[in-house]
Symmetry: C2
Subunit: 308 residues, 2 copies
């Protein structure tokens, strides 16, 4: 089924204890659309880049069959640039440089061809723009969105407003706590559901993810990695794998969303194994399926009734 | 099958944001043996208390059919007393008072009747005493042990020594990191396995538990609780449920140890729902089985091959 992705495209400079990558391909829309492209077609992208955006990265996105009709290229401007440095535990990072550049004036326009996309994934951007995109759509079946502390703190009312239109909110544990003002994640999820989304996915990094689907709860394991090279894009890869799988199967049932969470976790686990987007540039269906099956193995056990 | 438990018996004063309990029943051997008693008989206890240990708590332990032949009662002394205060997030706590009392001179003697117990659970005590208990046994089939940062820091060599005799080490994530000097829990577990134990269980509180069984890894969910009243004894209840189930089934295979981890998590989840040991004083087999089945539900999903 058709999927529309909106978000940022960036050139990131990333430092981790394991190395440094300069001006590599980044941005939420990039990670989401590349991840989703392993599952579903067409993936349609709405975003903005500057004249410095490398032509070979345009070619790469096209090679993933991502439809770039909605990509605005501002030749006179520069692409959004973020420079981050991760600490030793890779859970905390400092933003050294954040240059919004052409992203500061981003006015997302959904091409006529894209407006009937059945699935919509709103990457982590200003909630006012998320709503603007939604209102240009002709009634998508499912709207998935991400947000972050920056918008919870700076655009709370706009975020609460756009949450009305969102079916699945995917956020991390600290964001869930901040948005709900509840420490306990169960209470946090229930409160966020009361804001609009019927489904809340809380990502907990190395501790896996929780899927709250109406009154149900599913506990997804994390893939046990000995070394994480670069966490950049892990959350967006998760969202892309999640919505890509749902779009492919065209099934929003609880049972299928559980699998979507595992596919999201699968793509995210590939993402963090290499720098920047390199971990998900070239995956095979076999690699994805094998790792999905490992997730099953890690969490599977057979219940036997206790004899008394 | 027969199970021997050694560890502390205490009178705890506990403060949490939800209330306070004064001089209530505590101690690692208490939580372990009571938890195990829901699965297996006989549970045999080796420990020490003072003349102030309430007779009604002796009766309670006897009502759980725990064999107290190895319980030393030092009438002239006082029972180990700990006074702790939990912070709002319940993950951190301050020790206000720690009075070892009769526990300071604890010299564990395994009665002749107990020496042939098939299963041995060494609660969190001085590793020199853990070894002393082990050496009094006549070749138990499986030795499970717990330890803590206090012994890792203060008795490292003795701990490394006793690890040779231990088949299953159950510790929490921060202890695993400290013992192995590895941040990554996968690397930490592998290193701890190289110290002796073939099996390492890492407890991660609200994030569940990891079972490392030889080269296998199992990811157990946590029970999603809206309110945790008192985390005291959760780790010991986990260990008691774990070894109690293994002792009952007399099966140390990987498949069965996965179930043991879930039963451990089950008993721990009951433990934290009330103050002190009250959450596990009176459980029914039906309650235990129902909650075990909920764990299954929380982590179960059906894998479907990805069509390409």
């Amino acid at each position: 089924m058709s999927l529309l992705v909106v978000g940022s495209l960036a050139l990131d400079t990333i430092e981790t204890p394991f190395g440094k990558a300069e001006r590599t391909l980044g941005g939420s829309a990039t990670f989401i659309s590349v991840s989703a492209s392993y599952f579903t077609k067409p993936v349609r992208l709405v975003g903005v880049v500057g004249g410095d955006f490398p032509p070979e990265e345009i070619e790469f996105l096209e090679s993933r069959e991502i439809d770039l009709e909605g990509l605005q290229v501002k030749k006179e401007g520069k692409t959004f640039h973020w420079h981050g440095r991760y600490h030793y535990d890779l859970n905390t990072r400092d933003s050294i440089v954040t240059e919004l550049n052409v992203f500061a004036e981003f006015d997302p326009i959904v091409p006529e061809n894209f407006a009937k996309s059945r699935y919509l994934c709103l990457g982590n951007i200003n909630p006012e723009l998320q709503k603007k995109v939604y209102l240009q759509m002709k009634g998508p079946d499912l709207v998935v969105a991400d947000t972050m502390n920056f918008w919870i703190e700076g655009k709370y009312d706009a975020l609460m407003d756009v949450l009305q239109y969102i079916n699945v909110l995917i956020i991390n544990d600290s964001e869930a706590r901040e948005l709900s003002k509840e420490y306990n994640l169960l209470k946090a999820a229930r409160k966020i559901q009361s804001f609009g989304p019927q489904v809340v996915v809380i990502k907990k990094g190395e501790h896996g993810a929780l899927l709250f689907y109406e009154s149900e709860i599913f506990f997804a394991p994390a893939y046990p990695l000995e070394t994480i090279y670069d966490p950049t894009g892990a959350g967006d890869s998760f969202a892309g794998g999640f919505i890509g799988y749902i779009s492919k199967t065209d099934d929003t049932s609880y049972e299928n969303m559980k699998r979507a969470v595992i596919y999201g976790s699968t793509i995210a686990s590939f993402c963090v194994e290499k720098f920047s987007i390199d971990g998900i540039r070239e995956l095979t269906h076999l690699e994805i399926q094998d790792r999905f099956n490992e997730f099953k193995k890690f969490s599977d056990f057979q219940a036997i009734e206790l004899e008394t």
